[in-house]
Each structure stands twice: as structure tokens, then as C-alpha cells.
């Protein structure tokens, strides 16, 4: 593929992404159950990438769902998403605090967070992917996604959060600031640093 072709392809991707953002602006949920169904997979993967531990990720998502329903079910549907991520990220921060204490008190019980690294590999090996009609393409995308996963896991926690909320969830800077409990300026800083770091880590693969 020549340079013009590559640029054209990337511009197409941007257009698709913009369309996707516009489509997602129309609220895809009206009830709390629809909202949780809409958000659960992304939330789980965010927690998984933040903790590198599948079981802990499930616990965090479940606790977050429970708390959202308990405390904020009377809020407007538009407020649910930032509130949900606010709770989730508070819980992830608490998780790291508890983990730090546990590691100090029981240093011999330190657990390596490598459980989720081969997440996509096991999915491919099990052959239960819903998009397995194009194996070669699927494999390539899987490898690329795997590298991105590793790249995200290398980021500091706040940069991870800013990146995932802005890039993946498509929250605005204001919503991300609310979810992270910091200023919009901090969000911009974390996000730009995360992008720069990921470009450094993944550049050689993505430029291919």
C-alpha cells in the first residue's frame, strides 16, 4: 500500500469513527438494565486492563453495578455513564490501595497480574469467536489488539483511565473529568501523554 492509499485508509477510519460517535450520541438506553447491558463489556475490559486480573475485574464491575443501582437509579439516563465510570475508577483506585497494603503485610503472597495477558489468545484457541469467518484477518486484528492491550497495561493508572474513557468510551473532556474526579486540564494532560506513550510503544507495529 502506498502512502496516499494508507492515508486514505486512515481518513476513512476517522470518518467511520466520527459516524460512530454521532450515532452513539443518541442515547441507546432508557432503562437501567439496558444501560448496564450496553456498558458491561467495556467496563469489564477496562477493569481487566487496569487490574490485569479477570476475577478482580468481575468483582469490581459487579460492585459498581450494584452501587449505581442502589444510589443513582433515580438520576437521568444521560448522567449514568459518567457516574458509572466515576464509581468504577474509585473502586479501581481502592483496589490498588488494598493491594499495596496486602503486598506490604503479606509480601510472600504477591500475585503476578499476568492472568489477562493471553485473553484474546485463549479466545482464538477456543474457537468461540463470533467473527471467526475470516481467520487470517481475525488473527491479525487479534494480534494488534493484543499489542494494544499490553501497551495500555504499561501506562500509569490515570493515563489508562483517561485514554480508555476518551478513546474507547468516547466521553467528552468534561465527562471524563467528572468520571476521574479531576480537572479538565488534568484529563487533557493525561490523555495526550497516554497517546504519546502508546505511539512510542506501538508505533513500530501500527506503522507497518
Amino acid at each position: 500500500m502506498d502512502t496516499n492509499g494508507a492515508n486514505q485508509h486512515k481518513c476513512d477510519q476517522v470518518t467511520i469513527s466520527q459516524r460512530r460517535d454521532e450515532a452513539s450520541d443518541a442515547l441507546a438506553y432508557q432503562t437501567l438494565e439496558e444501560f448496564l447491558k450496553f456498558i458491561e463489556k467495556r467496563a469489564f475490559h477496562m477493569a481487566r486492563l487496569s487490574t490485569s486480573h479477570i476475577e478482580d475485574a468481575h468483582d469490581l464491575v459487579q460492585d459498581t453495578m450494584y452501587k449505581l443501582v442502589e444510589k443513582y437509579s433515580n438520576k437521568a439516563p444521560a448522567d449514568w455513564k459518567p457516574l458509572f465510570y466515576r464509581i468504577l475508577h474509585s473502586k479501581i483506585t481502592d483496589y490498588y490501595r488494598r493491594k499495596a497494603v496486602r503486598d506490604k503485610v503479606f509480601p510472600w503472597k504477591k500475585v503476578g497480574g499476568q492472568e489477562s495477558e493471553d485473553y484474546l489468545d485463549t479466545q482464538l484457541n477456543e474457537g468461540i469467536s463470533p467473527n471467526s469467518s475470516e481467520p487470517a484477518n481475525m488473527l491479525l486484528r487479534g494480534q494488534q489488539a493484543q499489542r494494544l492491550t499490553v501497551g495500555i497495561e504499561k501506562l500509569p493508572l490515570r493515563q489508562q483511565q483517561a485514554f480508555m474513557l476518551r478513546c474507547w468510551e468516547g466521553l467528552t473532556t468534561q465527562e471524563t473529568a467528572m468520571a476521574m474526579g479531576c480537572t479538565q486540564g488534568s484529563v487533557k494532560t493525561h490523555y495526550s501523554r497516554a497517546m504519546a506513550r502508546l505511539r512510542d510503544i506501538l508505533g513500530e507495529y501500527y506503522d507497518q
Binding site: K10, C11, Q13, V14, I16, S17, R20, L32, E33, L36, K37, E40, K41, R42, F44, H45, I54, H58, V61, Q62, M65, Y66, L68, V69, E70, S73, Y119, L120, T122, Q123, E126, I128, S129, P130, N131, R141, G142, Q144, A145, L148, T149, M164, C167, W168, S192, M195, L198, R199, Y206
Partner: protein
């Protein structure tokens, strides 16, 4: 522009990750969602406690009011099926004398007279 292109590429990969969620994880997420939602069907405990306390107080009030309202004498009269003495004082003393309740006084008087004789 570079940021936009990077962002679009990353978004595609992240969506790929999302679409390839394990079925066992999907099942567990559905279970977690159901558990969380089931909370909304439950009434808060405070309402139940409030209702129980109100009913208890009402019942206690209904039971206690008749006890404190009347004097012990009238209660006794109610139990024996007779009119209260209080209402009879000052009306007709003969009616009081004729009351069966004071039969023992008459017996006592008769015995006293007999002894004196």
C-alpha cells in the same frame, strides 16, 4: 490529525477486544447485572420498619386507652355487671342498701345484734 488517526485505530482494536469477550465472562456479567437490578424490586428496609413501628404504636394505644380512661371501681362494676356506685351516691340510699353486693354487711349486722342480745 495524527491523534485522530491513532484514536480511530485504537478504537477499532478496542472494539475488537470488546466483541471478543469470552462467553463465560458474558454470562457472569449478565448474572451481575441481574443481581444489581433485582435491588430495585425490593422495598427499602426503612419503610418496613416504619410501618411495623406505626402499627405497633397504634395497637398499644388502642389497648391502653380503655385501661387508663376509667377508674378501677368502674372497671370492677363493669366486670360484675352492676352500675357504678359513684353514679348512685346522692340518688336513693335504699337502692344502695338493696344491692346484693352488700349482703355480707347485713349478715355482719345481724350477727352483731345476736351477740349483743
Amino acid at each position: 490529525m495524527i491523534n485522530k488517526i491513532d484514536q480511530a485505530t485504537y478504537q477499532d482494536d478496542l472494539e475488537h477486544i470488546e466483541q471478543n469477550t469470552h462467553s463465560r465472562d458474558l454470562f457472569r456479567l449478565a448474572q451481575a447485572r441481574r443481581t444489581a437490578i433485582s435491588q430495585t424490586n425490593r422495598q427499602p428496609n426503612t419503610i418496613n420498619w416504619l410501618l411495623a413501628t406505626t402499627c405497633g404504636c397504634l395497637f398499644a394505644f388502642l389497648v391502653m386507652v380503655p385501661l387508663f380512661e376509667d377508674s378501677p371501681l368502674s372497671v370492677e362494676a363493669i366486670v360484675s355487671g352492676e352500675q357504678p356506685i359513684k353514679s348512685m351516691i346522692g340518688e336513693d340510699i335504699s337502692e344502695v342498701d338493696s344491692m346484693g353486693f352488700y349482703y355480707w354487711l347485713e349478715i355482719y349486722d345481724v350477727e352483731l345484734v345476736a351477740n349483743n342480745d
